[in-house]
């Protein structure tokens, strides 16, 4: 079914699209400002916590021997995962010509960039001497020191910076015609800024031709990154020796989980937008249905991976792997494991029902559970595996402190602050692509005469 079935009553016109999208950029109301304040305050608390940690030392966070990685790396992997859905929607679905993506891809792309920006903070927050984090970059220096290219952390640096670059370029290129429309609709200093960002877009035929070609190429470039980034991140664990980490399963396992959580985050972001900006005409039930199906499918795949993970640990016959598995299932962190199974395996099953898939409330609730489940999945991989690894002498439980908890919560505030800012300065729906799905207006009579 075409997204712009002309027979559909009340289908938007080109003029409606312009009006509805530009309406989202109107000066904010008290609700919006209130949310900005809340998010800003939480972020401030997070920044203060980080400052304190830099000043006092990593001891301010609850890490210890043997769990030398904990919530920061959990959040890092979580946010990288979130960053997946955007590129998946904009690039892969674009190449597959899945037209339902048009109304959500802009928000998803913005989400991707902000999520990667959030994720990128965590290696810095995590490093004992973050002021020397630039040692990881292969910059020319007098002593001919290079980073260690055998280390997965160096792979991360490359994978993530590449991903951020391509995603940002893709995002900016996609925005050009829309920003030009904004430029035309605004005056004063706004017009000058939008003018600069629109790169002199005039909508000429040759510009459209180049634009289309560039967009397609970038989509093709971005597609492998969707798979590579999280695979590389998963190797942080898979390459290590720790029982519970050392597994060849991790790359597809992580990619699937990333898509799963990414779609949940997209829903978390666009459902309120749909409600408050009354975008029901663009974000229709069939869009929600498609997203619900994707969450369901990725959730089922994830369940399969969980089974594989447990089975291989048991079937390996390896004392360390088995001990790690049985400990996780039954001991100190069992709550975490079972919470994860519930959120990621049981909750998405609701989406087998079409009514659930088309209900914004149900989708929202499921998405929240999925996000909780996926955060704890990463926590479960990192902390309990380390807490009960090879050496019984040092086994120990990680206890979060106020500092690291605040920093993690602050990272959510940072993400939402960026996103809230975005929806007020940029069109969060693609004017161009939404219009593409609407039949061309007929000269003179308009669509009403159809």
């Amino acid at each position: 079914v075409s997204a712009a079935d002309p027979s559909q009553a009340g289908a938007p016109t080109f003029a409606d699209v312009n009006r509805d999208v530009l309406r989202t950029l109107e000066p904010p109301g008290p609700l919006y400002l209130g949310w900005m304040c809340v998010v800003g305050l939480i972020l401030t608390a997070g920044i203060l916590a980080w400052t304190y940690q830099i000043f006092i030392g990593m001891g301010a966070a609850g890490k210890r021997t043997p769990t030398m990685w904990a919530m920061y790396i959990t959040s890092f992997v979580f946010w990288i995962g979130i960053g997946h859905a955007g590129t998946l929607i904009s690039a892969i679905l674009y190449l597959f010509r899945a037209r339902w993506r048009t109304s959500i891809f802009r928000a998803a792309e913005a989400m991707t960039i902000f999520a990667v920006m959030t994720a990128g903070l965590f290696p810095l927050i995590h490093a004992g001497r973050m002021w020397f984090a630039y040692f990881l970059l292969p910059y020319p220096n007098q002593r001919d020191l290079w980073p260690n290219f055998r280390s997965p952390l160096v792979w991360d640096v490359f994978a993530i910076s590449t991903y951020l670059t391509i995603s940002t370029v893709f995002f900016i290129v996609g925005l050009v015609p829309d920003v030009a429309a904004l430029r035309d609709a605004t005056t004063g200093w706004r017009r000058r800024i939008y003018g600069m960002l629109s790169l002199g877009w005039e909508g000429s035929h040759s510009q459209w031709r180049h634009y289309r070609r560039a967009y397609g190429l970038l989509a093709a470039l971005a597609t492998p990154l969707v798979l590579s980034v999280h695979s590389v991140v998963s190797w942080d664990f898979a390459v290590a020796l720790v029982p519970g980490w050392h597994s060849t399963l991790f790359a597809p396992f992580f990619v699937d989980g990333a898509i799963f959580s990414g779609f949940a985050m997209v829903l978390i972001l666009i459902l309120p937008m749909r409600h408050y900006f009354r975008l029901h005409a663009y974000l229709q039930e069939k869009h929600l249905d498609a997203m619900g199906k994707l969450i369901l499918v990725t959730g089922l795949v994830l369940t399969y991976f969980y089974i594989c993970e447990a089975f291989t640990a048991w079937y390996s016959g390896d004392n360390f792997e088995r001990a790690s598995l049985f400990w996780k299932v039954t001991k100190s962190y069992a709550w975490d494991l079972w919470l994860m199974y519930f959120c990621n395996c049981v909750m998405p099953l609701v989406l087998f029902s079409k009514r659930a898939r088309t209900s914004p409330v149900v989708l929202y609730i499921v998405s929240i559970f999925v996000l909780i489940g996926m955060w704890f999945e990463r926590f479960n991989i990192i902390v309990p595996s380390l807490a009960h690894d090879f050496y019984p002498y040092t086994w120990g439980i990680y206890v979060p402190t106020a500092t690291d908890t605040m920093i993690v919560i602050g990272s959510f505030a940072w993400f939402f602050l960026l996103f809230l800012g975005f929806i007020k300065v940029m069109p969060s729906l693609s004017i161009v692509e939404v219009k593409e799905t609407i039949p061309q207006p007929v000269k003179g009579g308009g669509h009403a005469a159809h």
């Binding site: 006092i56 030392g57 990593m58 001891g59 890490k63 210890r64 021997t65 043997p66 030398m68 990685w69 290696p123 995590h126 490093a127 004992g128 001497r129 973050m130 020397f132 984090a133 040692f135 990881l136 020191l145 290079w146 980073p147 260690n148 055998r150 280390s151 997965p152 952390l153 160096v154 640096v157 942080d236 390459v239 290590a240 020796l241 720790v242 004392n319 360390f320 001990a323 380390l386 690894d389 090879f390 050496y391 019984p392 002498y393 040092t394 086994w395 120990g396 206890v399």
Partner: protein, 967 residues
Amino acid sequence: MNRREFFKVITTTGAAAAAGGCQQAAEKILPLVVPNEQIVPGVASWFSTVCRECPAGCGVIARNREGRIVKLEGNPDHPVNQGALCIRGQAALQGMYHPDRFAGPQRREGSALRAVGWDDALKLAADKLAAVRGAGKSRGIVVVSQLENGSLGGLMDRFGQALGARPRVTLEPFGYEWIRAANRLVFNRDAIPYYAFEDAEVVLSFGADFIETWLSNVNYARTFGRMHGFRGGRAGTFIHVEPRQSVTASNADEWVRNVPGTEGLLALAILKVMVEEGMVDRRFGEAAAGVEVNKVAADSGVSVATIKHVAHVFGNAKPGLAVGGGVAVAGSNATQSLAAINLLNAATSNVDKTVRFGPDSAYAQVTPYAEVAALAQAMARGEIEALLIGPGVNPAFTLPGGLRFGEAMAKVPFVVSFANQPDETTALAHLVLPDTHWLETWGDYSPREGVLGLMQPTMSPIRDSRPLGDVLLALGRSVLGTEEGKGPLPWTNFEQSLRATWDPVIKAGQWEQALQQGGVWKDVPAAAVIPKAAAIEATPVKLEGDAGGLTLLAYPSLRMYDGRTASRSWLQEAPDTMTQAVWDAWVEISTDTAAKFGIAAGDVVKVTSPHGTIEVPAYVSPTIHPGAVAVPIGHRYAPYHVPRYVRAPGAPMNPLALLPGAADPASGGPAFLSVRVTLAKTGARRPLAILQATHDQDDRELARHVDLRTAREEALRGKTEKPHDTVSMYSPQQYPNYRWGMAVDVDLCVGCQACVVACIAENNIPVVGKAEAAYGRQLHWLRIERWAEGKADHPHNTFLPMFCQHCEIAPCEPVCPVFAAYRTDEGLNGQVYNRCVGTRYCGNNCPYHVRRFNWYYYQFPEPLNVQLNPDVTVRQLGVMEKCTMCIQRIVAGKDRARDEKRTVRDGDIVTACQQTCPTQAITFGNLKDEGSEATKLRHAPRAYSVLDELGTRPSVTYLKKVVRTHA
């Protein structure tokens, strides 16, 4: 601007910037004690002296760098410790550089001590003493000191005699009077002999904790290692009888758990079995005539079969050695027990072989506790006018609570303390005249006949303190009004007095040599003794207190001794080997008792005896006798510990407070095993900081063992099982010059923890405090793990020293993004602190978890920072660190070899842990050299690597413990 002007500007602005911008306070430059030509910047000088942390009197060499002592090591020439030092000796530096040391003399004003000048302080003391003398109450003056049997002791006695004072009281809380009493009884000799562990085939110990504190723990641990360690098919046997599983008990091939106080009964029963089976001379049967083996078995909780088995093993030993008299089991019948043990030695003809009178221990010169108790009574009666308390003793803390010594002290009008740190006794003193630390002073000490240890100042005093000898001379002269060079105190300073004592001992011109060697050693002929096989009445131990209570086992702590070393934060943070607890005292309660009282580990328990009460957290142990509880002696904190490292305890933690004041009439010693206590939960919780998560290896074969028969076969024929080869796609690593490696003989490791503190001292390892240590953030590079196997109430413990394994295929190296962890071409696993970003990936990936992270900026409180080894980087916040195999010593060793135009020879380089190990369980060497000791051990049949199935190929080899099992 020309060049000259440029430099002028640069230097002036630079100086101004440095002066203005420098945040650190100006550091006191330490004056040099020795002539400058001895000190070459960057090169260490070594001075030998004698360790005075306990009466064992081990020889020490102190490493002086640029005028400050940075490390202590055992004096290899000294006959007592033969190069090793115990954990307390290693930590003695923290006594010298103690942040709480008195800055100068202190005088009591109201409840506080106020600083006062030396002249005023000496005048005050002299006036008081003169007044006492003038009033004709000279007998009211008494000098109390630790065991000082050299020049200082002589000077104190002279001082006392000149003033007409009471005889000096030599106060040692652990005086082993019961051993002396039993020797008087059986051998007619008031002495404690030398026990030749090294010559014994079987050692049978009745509660003698010789690995921990008993008599001379370094000496006996070393000789025990020589006797017991598996070497070329030969290995001794060690049977230990004790109601709780101590470190010493853990080293036994057979630990026999008895009812507390039944050691003598068991010894007699063993003697009886030996007599009945004709293994020994019948005349010894008389002594054990009244003993029934069945009844002893019922009373002691030890089965008849075990008694017979022990008798067979001991009776067949050629020769054996029976020892006894550990503090924890010294009760009212201790003298009888020791007499019975003496008879065991006599019956099996061990006397003169393994029990050697002649080179007698200095312990026999300790004033018996009964006289100390008499002094306390005299004090309480107001008969004592002036009490002079020497350094090293803290009677207000280390004497039984029932004696009420502190209260008696309050009745003394004038108390002078010579302690250089605040303690419970200085809190009651009117005047404190701080003595110099023993590392800063002249002196001598003879731990046993024939060993004359000589002490010299190894550096200048870091605080305004004066040697006790000098102060006594000044005081004595000013009280007596004698002119210089006349009277009973003819010397101007203590050094002269020392020389006067030594001049007759050494030949002219050999003073320097004696100083260098750390003393003079002479062979002492054996003294012949004739044992009396008189009947011994085996009485049960007398216990005061609630008949339904639990017997209290108060035992000297391996780390705190009687409490005098508790102020060292290194020792507080070095874990107790058995519990792996740091920074706190505890009461060890058996699992059954804990279940009965509903006590969980970490519950604060009120322990009450008729004489006092303490409150300590519970440690629930399956091994201790169910009828007993055990509390380590000596736990207290120094003022600077609180609250920097630990919260102040609400109530006393020292079990001596629970003991009666009365001396045991038979021996004249204190009765340590003398009370029953009751337990009550206070409701509060104070979980112990326990570093080891579990003592169960979970089938991971970290600490491995082999039975004696297999070990012997393999020693003869070579290893039966082939080591599994690890396959690699890469070519093996090349080592152009050296490949460093280590071998640890788990069979020799006795778990004394000396290496842990040696490593701390050598490598500038900070102290983190109780909460951080409990949370897995301790920074020790080396740890002694205790792994328990077998029955829960009777486990077989193996001690495993664990530190960086310097793996050939190191999991930490490839994951480091910046090459901070890297492999050197000498086989070390290097760590570049400056390059480390602190991702901690290496810490996760190290399967041994020996990497330590700097979670904070760790402080070394002034003046402990003076102790820092200048050859080792002090790590900063946010970097990873770990064992370097003492790379600074490797570099120094290579430098020396290069200067001599040769390669490094085996034994040139000795790591800090290896150096101090009493049993020589650790060997360092070049693995490329087929002749090196480390390589030989690496190829020994008992060799294995920890977690070798991971393919890490460690450079550290472990040698399996050899277990002797009997059916």
